[in-house]
């Protein structure tokens, strides 16, 4: 398996993926314990402190009523746009290079959405009443306000969560069946249930193909609409810097951009730490992801320039004030750092040598996500600081509780992802097999671990 000269066979990928699920080394347990510990310490503990004392534990004030919680929420929803959207688009365009990575990318989507949902709860003043935002019949005879942009959020994210989980599950059914045959005990029971008795007959494949294609066709407009709707939380206000029609494409492009960078990070980690995966996640994947990053960076730069230009061209004093504050005000260092990481650094992807080297791409992807977070923070921070009435201008500095919760959210995501790697086959076996040549003639070996 170490010799890269031999192409991997069907049996090889089967063995590698099953092994990644069934065999667990001490390194994994250490990683899981660390992630879980950091999550509890940095995410849940400060959150409970905030629940007890009030939102005052965060740095939000008047007029800066939205802080890093909402910025993080939008950041995580943005990150979720990588997996499922990319996976669906590439499925419909029949591209081969998506096969090895899309399962983990879709998992990224799912867990980003879950983390984003917890950020909603952290952000609310009275989160114990969050169920009031859901439409359910109750004895108060009250329904949520469907005219509210925040409620479009609820419907869109609910649909997206359902759609993503269904999508990743449907794609994994054949792989669950394959892993079921090689495991024993409680794992065997779990995979038997999860695989629904899949046998791999031609009619089952045919149905799965059609269901999967229809789901992909439905999920693409859904994913585009989700982040547009999240952007309309801002764009439907009349805050000068936020009330822009460009926001929907701006957010969607930014989301796909940061999500793709997230996929690069995850691919690097999978490749490095799971035995055998370096055969399936190759330079070709990083090359293509790099090209995608470059294109998205150029589009994002264009949209950002348009926003600046139209704001300046309008001549409105509020727009000028907002722009001037964004570029040269209190948060100016963050703005220029964002430009550096988002618009300038990805230009390195023009060079193929950069795109096909693993560690530089990893560093670039992390930088892009840092820039992304800064952008989300600036959207919230600089716009609410300078609204119409100068007496109500203010500055916002995140508090320790907020910074800790941001860190904890990454740990929460890592924990969920680590659990995922042990339950789902993190590389889609049957799709990678489709890209390989059919196995050469060999004597049939008896299957290992077959339940009696």
């Amino acid at each position: 398996m170490q010799a890269e000269t031999k192409d991997p066979q069907y049996a090889d990928i089967h063995r590698d993926v099953v092994r990644s699920i069934v065999e667990t080394g001490p390194r994994y347990y250490v990683a899981l314990a660390t992630a879980l510990g950091v999550t509890l310490l940095c995410f849940f503990f400060p959150w409970f402190y905030q629940l007890y004392y009030g939102i005052g534990a965060a740095g939000v004030n008047h007029p800066q009523v939205w802080g890093t919680y909402l910025a993080s929420f939008i950041f995580w929803i943005g990150l979720s746009h990588s997996g499922t959207l990319l996976s669906c688009v590439l499925h419909l365009s029949n591209s081969a290079w998506r096969k090895a990575m899309y399962r983990s990318a879709e998992a990224m989507t799912l867990f980003s959405l879950m983390v984003a949902a917890t950020f909603v709860m952290v952000h609310l003043g009275r989160p114990w009443f969050i169920h009031w935002a859901l439409p359910y019949p109750n004895q108060m005879e009250m329904w949520p306000n469907f005219r509210s942009p925040l409620l479009f959020d609820v419907m869109a994210i609910g649909t997206y969560l359902t759609g993503s989980s269904i999508f990743i599950y449907m794609g994994s059914i054949p792989d669950f069946a394959a892993v079921r045959d090689r495991t024993t005990g409680w794992r065997n029971t779990m995979y038997t249930l999860l695989s629904l008795g899949w046998r791999g007959t031609d009619s089952e494949w045919h149905r799965l193909h059609w269901a999967y294609t229809f789901l992909a066709v439905l999920i693409i407009p859904l994913a585009v609409s989700v982040h547009s709707i999240v952007s309309w939380d801002f764009a439907l206000s009349i805050v000068p810097a936020l009330h822009q029609t460009i926001f929907a494409p701006y957010f969607v492009v930014g989301a796909i951009f940061s999500g793709t960078a997230g996929i690069v990070t995850v691919m690097f980690v999978l490749r490095k730490y799971i035995a055998g995966f370096d055969q399936y996640i190759t330079r070709v994947h990083f090359d293509n992801l790099g090209k995608l990053l470059l294109v998205l960076s150029l589009i994002w730069t264009y949209i950002n320039a348009i926003e600046l230009f139209t704001g300046w061209y309008s001549g409105a004093s509020t727009e000028h004030e907002a722009l001037q504050y964004k570029l040269f005000g209190y948060y100016a260092p963050l703005y220029w750092e964002m430009i550096l990481f988002f618009a300038v650094a990805p230009l390195l992807c023009i060079f193929k040598r950069f795109r096909t080297s693993f560690v530089p791409m990893l560093i670039l992807s992390i930088a892009i996500n840092i820039g992304m977070y800064t952008e989300r923070f600036l959207i919230v921070g600089t716009s609410l600081s300078r609204q119409y009435l100068p007496d109500a201008w203010g500055v916002y500095v995140p508090s320790l509780v907020e910074l800790s919760i941001i860190l904890g959210s990454f740990a929460l995501f890592t924990t969920l992802f680590l659990v995922f790697v042990k339950i789902f086959p993190s590389i889609s076996m049957y799709e990678v097999k489709e890209t390989m040549d059919i196995p050469k003639t060999e004597p049939i070996a008896p299957p290992e671990g077959n339940p009696a």
């Binding site: 066979q9 069907y10 049996a11 089967h14 439409p135 005879e141 009250m142 329904w143 306000n145 469907f146 005219r147 509210s148 942009p149 479009f152 419907m155 869109a156 609910g158 649909t159 359902t162 759609g163 269904i166 449907m170 059914i173 054949p174 069946a177 394959a178 045959d181 629904l196 008795g197 899949w198 046998r199 791999g200 007959t201 031609d202 009619s203 494949w205 045919h206 149905r207 799965l208 059609w210 269901a211 229809f214 789901l215 439905l218 999920i219 407009p221 859904l222 609409s225 709707i229 076996m429 049957y430 799709e431 097999k433 489709e434 059919i438 196995p439 003639t441 060999e442 049939i444 299957p447």
Partner: protein, 170 residues
């Protein structure tokens, strides 16, 4: 108890040839099990109709109507004037409708898949674990020993590496 003749092949082409020959020889429609979807099954075994698209369409329709009704009816049930907007506002409700369309479309597609693929399987059916790894398997129902011998001959002629006899509970 139905007996099945099961042939293991190393590649999809030989499996398809065997299936075609079996069908032509008058056996019941054979089933192909494989680790990856096989191209060209429909030419050999006949067109497959997919009912999933009807489920998706129906689901989308139901979703659209119920999404708009949810928003409009609840707005009228508890009158709550906000912002000088009408009680039944069209642009926000269209967004709700759009999301509900996709939501129900997705759910009904899954339902269609489950119904038409006849999953989950509640009884044990004939299955060869190697078909999930790297072998392409053809199974055909046989009534008696003589049928089985004929099937076995056809399978071996087409290049089967192994032929087994498996039984399935009815």
């Amino acid at each position: 108890m139905t007996n099945f003749a099961v042939g293991l092949f190393h590649g999809p082409d030989s499996a398809l040839t065997a299936a075609g020959t079996l069908k032509g020889a008058g056996f019941a429609t054979p089933e192909l099990m494989s680790p990856v979807p096989i191209e060209g099954v429909e030419e050999v075994l006949g067109e497959k109709k997919s009912v999933i698209k009807h489920f998706t369409f129906f689901g989308g329709l139901i979703g659209g109507i119920s999404g708009f009704l949810l928003a409009a009816v609840t707005a009228v049930l508890y009158l709550h004037p906000t912002g000088g907007r009408p009680i039944i506002t069209i642009p926000p409700f269209l967004i709700i409708t759009y999301e509900a369309t996709i939501f129900f479309g997705i759910l009904f597609t899954v339902l269609g898949f489950i119904i038409s693929a006849r999953l989950p399987a509640f009884r044990d059916r004939v299955y060869v674990p190697e078909s999930a790894v790297d072998k392409f398997v053809v199974t055909v129902a046989c009534d008696d020993d003589e049928h089985f011998k004929r099937a076995e001959t056809i399978l071996r002629d087409a290049g089967a590496e192994q032929v087994r006899e498996l039984a399935e509970e009815d």
